[in-house]
């Protein structure tokens, strides 16, 4: 059984043309905010608390990318567009990219690499603790994202490991909720969206278990 899944991982379909053509477009769309932020920063177009604005933007981009990533499978099942699966790794790596930027901006620019403060923030401030945890969970997922790593790990293990994405959806949104001062509107919206995306999986998983042919 393990080998069967592994084979499937190895033989991951490149997908039809539409997926291949659109993939670079999606890549550019997802990278564009980062390019804009760097451009705005160097050309002094950011009014206000510059570092905080960079922090908030990269954090939101990470959460948004995570939502896109988790939307792929349900969307594929609903539409039947199997080629959507070929975007999943790219989207997942964008989550890691923006989360890493977010963390580096916080430690590097906001706390200015003052290690005492970094340590204090991680151990004393729950929203940082859970944010840090979210990033740490993403690390092995990013490392095991190449096909070769997936092959080495074996399909079942790889899949189980990457189900940690669901955990990150909860921890990262909790980080967001605890970070905001008073207006919890957007964190609650993200919780709702993630609940739907994870709920769809739960429903499918339960159905799959109850159906005899799935055994």
């Amino acid at each position: 059984m393990t080998s069967a899944v592994a084979t499937r991982v190895r033989a991951r379909p490149k997908g039809p043309r539409i997926g291949r053509v659109l993939k670079p477009v999606v890549f550019v769309i997802l990278l564009a905010p980062a390019v804009w932020l760097v451009f705005a920063l160097v050309t002094d177009r950011i009014d206000g608390d510059v570092v905080k604005i960079l922090e908030i933007n990269t954090g939101e981009l990470a959460l948004r990318s995570l939502m896109y990533t988790l939307a792929i499978s349900p969307l594929r099942q609903i539409t039947g567009w199997a080629w959507l699966a070929t975007w999943r790794r790219m989207l997942g790596l964008f989550v890691f990219f923006y989360a890493t930027m977010h963390m580096l901006i916080y430690f590097g620019l906001d706390l200015e690499l003052r290690f005492g403060e970094i340590w204090t923030s991680i151990v004393k401030r729950p929203y940082i603790t859970i944010g840090m945890l979210s990033w740490l969970i993403l690390v092995p997922l990013a490392i095991t994202s190449p096909n070769a790593m997936a092959k080495k790990l074996g399909g079942v293990k790889w899949k189980r490991l990457h189900q940690l994405t669901y955990v990150v959806a909860v921890t990262a949104t909790t980080h967001y909720l605890w970070a905001v001062k008073k207006d919890t509107f957007w964190p609650v919206v993200y919780f709702g969206l993630f609940a739907v995306l994870l709920g769809l999986r739960a429903v499918r998983w339960r159905r799959g278990r109850s159906l005899p042919h799935a055994a």
């Binding site: 177009r45 009014d47 510059v50 604005i53 008073k182 509107f185």
Partner: protein
Amino acid sequence: MLIRNRIEPPSSEITPEIDYLNRRQFLGVVGSIGAISATGALAEAVLGGLHPVGAQQGDEVTDEEKVTSYNNYYEFGTDKEDPKANSQQFRPRPWSVKIEGMAKKTGDMPLDDFLKPSRVEDRTYRFRCVEAWSAVIPWRGIPLADVIRRADPLPSAKYIELTTLYDPAQMPGQRRATIQWPYIEGLRLDEALNPLAFLATGMYGKTMRNQNGAPLRLVVPWKYGFKNIKAIVKIKFTDRPANTTWMKAAADEYGFYANVNPTVDHPRWSQARERKLGDILRTPTLMFNGYETQVASMYSGMDLRRNF
């Protein structure tokens, strides 16, 4: 996206043109305030306002564009760019201010009558947000002490409580219960009488912008920004401290005094350093935001860690 393009208006047009009082003129003004004895401490107090303390850190007046486009003013929305975007229809006139409570001269007064007896002053103050960003802002307005004295508080009055306008039709942020409306702030009477305490009607030599608290806002530069209540409609004299909006929202994070204090952290971040709007690197935060000589005596003997 929080980033807004800054092409219009061009910065050449928005560069503030302010006639700063020079030191000599200013000392004349101080001398003319007969009500309070013009001691050296007072001169220093107000001069401290004109020349922000901590000039060695390179204090410069912050770009007007930054101060008018990055605001905390939940009445117009919780994002920093919301106040500018959502306050343009707000009508700061006609306006009246109500004096209430333990004072002899209470009642409603049109804003112009409320302001008229006082000499309009320009004061450049450091501004420190509880979120650890800061600015240096040239305000225009009148001393709060003038208003307090005119109201003639009763001996029983120990505090003032200030209230912002509640008008969800004009203030779209009030249509959601993000914080409890209306916004309430308070000061101890001696704090309100401190020469630094100021009621601003303008900034950068112009009439106050809606997003900055038009037509009338408080400026207490030794306290965190949220104490500086905007669009004031009521000043009430009381014998107990107000249960302020942010205390009601999160009593463990925001206290009644809210004095700038680099040694007492906010539960979620350090207050030791601040970032001036537009800067990347932080600068150290000063005790009482640099106004220690003018205000510290009001808090002698108090545990500032408990009374944060």
